[in-house]
Structure formats: C-alpha cells, structure tokens
Symmetry: C2
Subunit: 456 residues, 2 copies
C-alpha cells in the first residue's frame, strides 16, 4: 500500500478534538499542515456543527484550496456552499481555481449563482460567466484561466521575475506561454528551457514557436489524446482568433480519460458507473430503466418465436437450441461493439475508412461464424445423433454471428456519424437485432429440414 508519513489515526483524532473543544488555533495548526486532499477527506466526515466551526476557523481562501481537492465531486461542494453565508461562500469560490469553481457552480441554484456572481470580483465573475457557457465536454469547459503568459521581447531573467509572482496563483508555472501584443499565442517556454539557457537570452529566441494548441470547442477526448501522445503537462487553449484564453492541465486530463472510459464501460453494461451508491433503492432505480427497456425490446424476439410455436410443437428439440444461438450471436456482437467503441474513442484517423472497416468486420464475422458453426455442428451431431439438426443449428449460428458482427461494427459508427454517443445506446439495438435475425434464420432453415427431426 501507499506509504503515508502523515495523517495517521491519532492526527485525525487530534483535529476532531480541537474542533469539538473549540480550540481554533490548534485546529488550524494541525489541519493546514495536511495536504488538501487529506483535508478534504477529513472534512467529508464531519457533522454539520463541526463544519460550521471549520468555516469560522479557516479563511475562505483556505476552504477554497481544500475544495479544489474535491474536483471529482462538484455536487458535494455546492451542498457545503449552501451552509455558508453568501459573502463567505463567494470568497471561498474566489479562492478556488476557476475551472473547479465553474464545475461546482454548474450545479448551483439559479438565485444562488446570481448572488455569488454579484459578490465576486468583477473580473472573476465575468470569467466564470463566460466559462459557464462553454459546452460540456469541450476544451473550454475543462480549461483553467490561471496560466502564465508573457511577452517575448524580454530577457529570461525578467521573465523569471514575472513567473515568481505568478507562482502564487497559477495552476502551473512549468509551461510559460508567449503572446504578442494582440494576445495571440506565438510560443511556449518550459521552465526547464529557462533554467538551461543564459539569463540574458531573449524569451523569443529561446521559445519553441511550434506550440501546439487546442481550440476552445474541441472535444475533451481529442485534447486528452493529444496530451497523452505528446506527454505534455499542459496544453494551451485558443479562440478562433488564435488568442490564448486558457490552459488544460494534465491532472484535469486524467479525470477526462477515466470519465470517458467509464462512460464506454457504463454503456456496455447499461448502468451509470460514475456514481456508485450503497443504497439498494437508488441502485435498483438506476438499473431498472435499462433492464426494462431491454426486456421490452426483447419482447420483439419473443413475439417472433411465438410465431413459430406451431413448428416447436412439432419438433420440440428446436426449442432446446434457441438460447444457445441467440446467446452466441449476442456475444459476437458485444465483441465487435466493444472493438468499434474503443476504436471510435481513441483512433480518430480510422474514422475515415468506414467501408474498409466494415469489410474487415464482415470477413472476421464469416471466419468466426464458420468455425463456431462447425463446432456446434459437431457437438449437436454427435450428441443428438442427428447431423441434419447439427447442420441447421450450425448454419443458423453462422448467419447470426455474421449479422451480429456487422451490426456491432456498423451501429456505433452510424451513431457516431449522427452525433449520438455510440457507447451509450448501441448495446440494446445490437442485441435485439442479432436476436431477431438469429431466430428468423434458425426457424426458416429448420422449417425446410423439418422432416429430419420431428419426434427427435
């Protein structure tokens, strides 16, 4: 396990005791010594009375720092802000990094939001208002406005002085962006570059002019992929006039990568995995819509089978293999779906060649279908001593796998094209489609060969 030289149980007890016995100075000493993540962990376990004391003992900017560590749970922070006086809450918000503050305020009641904005410094309020308008999951919605931007016409020594001042508030000082007089992004210097070069060199001579930037409305997935490919610690965000308006830090990107893959994963399983709960009622009602939707979609298959009831009553052996065929086709569809979703999420260049990909999946499906179909042909043939029955089941399974495989690849690409998130909605369509096709193929073939297994 991770080694912590701090926050053992004794420390936490000491902090709680200081709160309960109202020893403000002792509380501040012990509490502020901790990393903000640990402060947040302790804070979460306090009761309302204890939290009220924390608001009295800590400066709003200290509470703001701690709330920065709760960046994965903005809804929780809103709840705490509502416990404070309006003025204190506004000061806390002012103490947070803008990107985190915006995340939190997106959950605020409208009248509260207006109240906070009125109490915040005009510049911060304007920035927050602007950022609240950026669409969710774009670069604009996750960027931070606390960056260091300097002019290229100065020495490294003088730039270093500017950085020292910025070191107090900026989210990162390790990348310094160079802008021209119209605030256009023209270069980047890393702090490492500055240390490696002579103090008296000009910024514009040292800077890297091939600076990579993202546009404010770029998808956060693409931003994440770029930062990951280039191993950047941050990337600048520009508007459509190439003006620098923010940066995105690697720690925000880690959250994006996790969020995106959890989403893909959630889509496959039909349950929102982002927020797990211990309450069985909540858990059940989160899973119910999907379960019932699939059940009702599945009724189309049931209805189809029902049409063939007459056939089943003549050869009940047919009933035995329905779930085996639909199940295997469903599994093949899930494999092809997962591959397609992953490809759409992380390999943009592949999007172009849709027909090539569909052809690949078609051939893959045929190979899978032939082999799997042959396996079941042999199994059923020997088991039931009836190779005609084996052939019917094997052939139906082969066709069903080919269809499921193609659907698994095509439907997510189609959804992506029309702007629906393929991870969320593809699953039920594919399983329903593959169930329907496999049942239809199965019984159509079975009818032809009926005389071979009536009474089996």
């Amino acid at each position: 396990m991770v080694e912590m030289t701090q926050t053992n149980h004794d420390n936490i007890q000491k902090i709680i005791n200081a709160l309960d016995s109202q020893k403000a100075r002792l509380f501040r000493e012990e509490y502020l010594e901790l990393h903000i993540y640990e402060q947040a962990q302790i804070f979460r376990d306090l009761n309302e009375q204890q939290r009220a004391r924390v608001y009295r003992y800590l400066k709003p900017e200290e509470v703001g720092d701690m709330f920065d560590a709760m960046d994965q749970d903005p809804e929780e922070v809103i709840h705490y802000l509502e416990e404070m006086t309006m003025a204190y809450a506004a000061a806390v918000i002012n103490g947070m990094y803008t990107d985190n503050a915006v995340d939190v305020l997106a959950y605020a009641k409208k009248e509260d939001l207006l109240g906070y904005l009125r109490l915040l410094p005009a510049k911060t309020a304007a920035e927050i208002k602007r950022m609240l308008h950026y669409e969710d999951k774009t670069a604009g919605s996750i960027m931070s406005t606390e960056y260091v931007a300097i002019n290229g016409n100065q020495t490294l020594a003088s730039a270093m002085e500017a950085i020292k001042v910025a070191a107090k508030t900026a989210e990162t000082i390790y990348y310094v962006y160079v802008i021209d007089e119209s605030e256009k992004l023209v270069g980047v210097v890393t702090l490492r570059d500055m240390l490696r070069n002579d103090d008296q060199a000009m910024v514009k001579d040292v800077m890297n002019m091939q600076v990579m930037a993202v546009k404010v409305d770029d998808d956060q997935k693409d931003v994440a992929q770029t930062i990951r490919d280039y191993n950047f610690l941050a990337i600048p965000v520009t508007d459509y006039n190439h003006k620098l308006i923010g940066i995105i830090n690697v720690d925000d990107i880690i959250d994006v990568i996790d969020e995106e893959s959890v989403e893909d994963y959630s889509g496959l399983a039909g349950v929102d995995l982002e927020q797990t709960t211990e309450n069985p009622w909540q858990a059940a009602f989160k899973r119910l819509p999907w379960l019932v939707t699939l059940l009702i979609l599945g009724m189309s298959t049931t209805t189809l089978i029902s049409h063939y009831e007459e056939l089943v009553s003549q050869a009940s052996i047919l009933a035995v293999f329905i779930s085996s065929i639909t199940g295997t086709a469903g599994n093949a569809g899930t494999q092809s779906l997962a591959t397609a979703v992953r490809r759409l999420a992380f390999k943009d260049e592949d999007k172009k060649n849709i027909w090539q990909l569909l052809l690949t999946e078609l051939i893959t499906g045929i190979i899978l279908g032939i082999i799997t179909g042959f396996v079941i042909f042999v199994i059923v043939g020997f088991w039931k001593h009836n190779f005609v029955l084996g052939f019917v089941i094997g052939f139906a399974m082969m066709c069903a796998i080919v269809v499921a495989n193609l659907a698994g690849a095509f439907i997510p690409m189609f959804m992506d094209k029309i702007g629906v998130d393929p991870a969320v909605a593809s699953g039920p369509f594919i399983s329903t489609l593959s169930d329907l096709t496999s049942v239809l193929i199965y019984f159509s073939i079975a009818r032809i060969f009926l005389s071979f297994f009536v009474g089996q």
Copy 2:
C-alpha cells in the same frame, strides 16, 4: 480538431524527399525540428531502406529520443532495434529513458538482450537488469530512474545549480527530492517552492517533510489512484529501507489508467481491446477462444433445457419465453458485475465490508426482480390472456434476476480474494450460472402449473 502549427503534408513530403535523395543535412534539419511524437509518426510509415538511412543520418541518442515517444508500443521498437548493428542499437537504448528502455527490452530475444547489456555503460546495464526483475504492473516496473535528488544541507541557490545540470537528462525537474546521507527520502521541494523562496534559504527549511512515496512492489493501480487524488506530477518510489530508488511521472500514470480501464472493458466483452488490428484473421482468432468457451459453457444450459423437452412438447408456449428470461437475468448480472468490477478497481476501502455489499446487492436484486417480474407478468397476462402463465414467467424471472445479481457481485469479489483478476474471468461464469438457475427455476415452476397452459 487539434491545431498543429507544424507537420503539414508539405513538411512530411519534404522530409521523405530528403531521405530518398540522400540529403542527410536537409533531412536532419527538417526532421529534428519536429516534436518526437511527430518524428515517431513519420518514422512508422517509412520502408526498410528509408529506415536504414535514418539510422545513418541520425545519432543514436536522437533515435533514442524518438523511441521514447513510442512508449505505448514497446514491441514495435524491438523490431527496429533488430535492424541496427548491435553497437548502434545499444547506443540508442542508452539514449532512451530507463523505464521505456526496460519496457522495450522485456520483448527482446535473450541473446540480443545479453548483447545490448554487454555494450551498455556498466551503470545503465546494472539499472536495466535490476528493473527487468520487477514484477509487471508494480511501481518498480513503471518507475524511471532519471530523477533529481539533492542534499538538504545547502542553499536553494546551490540546489538550483544542481537542477540546471540535471535539466539535461532528468525526466522531470519540477519535483526535487531531498535525501539524507544513507539515501533515505526525507523531503520534497517543488521548483515552484524554490522560486517562491529566498535564494539563501536552506533546502531543509523549505522542503516539505511530509513527502508521500510508494513502495517498489505497490500495485500500479494504487499508484495511479494516489497521483490522481493528490494531483501530483510525479511520486517517488522507495525500497523497504525507505531508500529513494525511482520516480513515477504523471505521463506514465495516464497510460496505466487507460490500460486498467481497457482491461476491465476487455474482460466484459471478452476481447483484448489493447491492440486492435485491421487483419480479419488476427481479429477472428483473438475473439474465437472466448466465443467458443462461452458456447461450450452455454451447452450446460442447453443440456438442462434438453431435460425438459418432454415438458416443452406438452406446452410449446414455454419455449417462447426461455430466451426472454435468460436474457434479462444475464443483463441484470452484467450490471451488477460492472458495478462490482468498478468498485474493486477504484475504491479500495469498500473491499472491507463484503457482507454489507452482498446484502445491498441482494436487496437491489429483489427490488429489480419484483418490478421486472411484475412488468412481464402484466405483458404476458394480457398478451396470451393467461395470467397463470404470466405468473410463472414473472416469478421465474424474479428468481433468476436475484440469483444473477448476487452472482454478479459475489463472483468478482471472490476472484479478487483468491487473486484472479475479476474483470477477466467473471463474465462467463455469471452468465452460465444465471442461465442455468433461470432455466431450472422456470421449468420447475412451469411443471407445477402445467395444467393451466397445455395446449395454449
């Protein structure tokens, strides 16, 4: 899309032309101007002859830098190393960061590895040999040995001089670790701290003594979680004597987070998503084992249904609902499995209270079962004008959902306990178990009420 001020199509063409016309100087000028990630992208598209020229035109350390950008595909790099002379390849390896070099060498043929190690500087060879022994997916296997460690008994000014020297080779210089005379980790100073404080202050007075570290055999998942929670750019790795032996950077952690969630996702779909391929034969043979395993496991359900064939021949209506019941139970099991896998992957503290969690899933399953069962009871009752049949199907579905839900939660926890990765192996067990239970329950109940729907 991401804005690139560089590498447009013209540039790439210019580089390729320079290679083809053997203009070494022009090639170097244009190529080395690019970010290493872009260099790698171009390099990947070259043919063997062009690559041979690159090895002639570039210094081995320049090729090593470029290979650092291929850290997601170590197997590819091995292939390139085999094209070079032994001495050049060793020099290339020497130019890479140790963690990346080790990743690559893990795929080398044994005699090649011994050859490279003989040709590398003794210190690097020893380091690589040591790191090759760390178990996969531990902190040791992903750590880098290029870090900056200093003594606390000096001024910030003199420490800054040491950092300037290190800036040339260290992977990060933004965190500087402070060690005592026995190389034990005693503190950390960020470059930001150094800039904010007076030059003449002593390192030991400025450093943060509450430095967080991970142990060399910690699981990479836990390391990732810590870096994510604390928003660190790097974390130091220590051995069991608290000696500093490496650091893990945030960019390595991004790969870990993605790798871990892709693994979870792969497990659910039964296909290795880490390496997608365009070759249908390869794709098919990657998916076949799972598909055939599930098919054969599924034969147990088929065999069970086969036992009830007599019952089906009396009341063929029963056959119509088999797939609806097994399908719904399977969906419920997948939801509960996905939730459990996610919880095991990211919330260590929850592992403790297994009984509490199982109780929660039991109650969730009962709620889901009652509601879903009631829905199908109503549908079937009105559709087939037979509420007894509706009751049988609804009750069977309810029982099947409860069992599938419990299995979905219990099996991954059990696998985790016995040290098997729950994401990889749980799926087929759960679907087979829930299929078997639902068929068994369904036909057992149906037999009791048989007189109500014979001849339906």
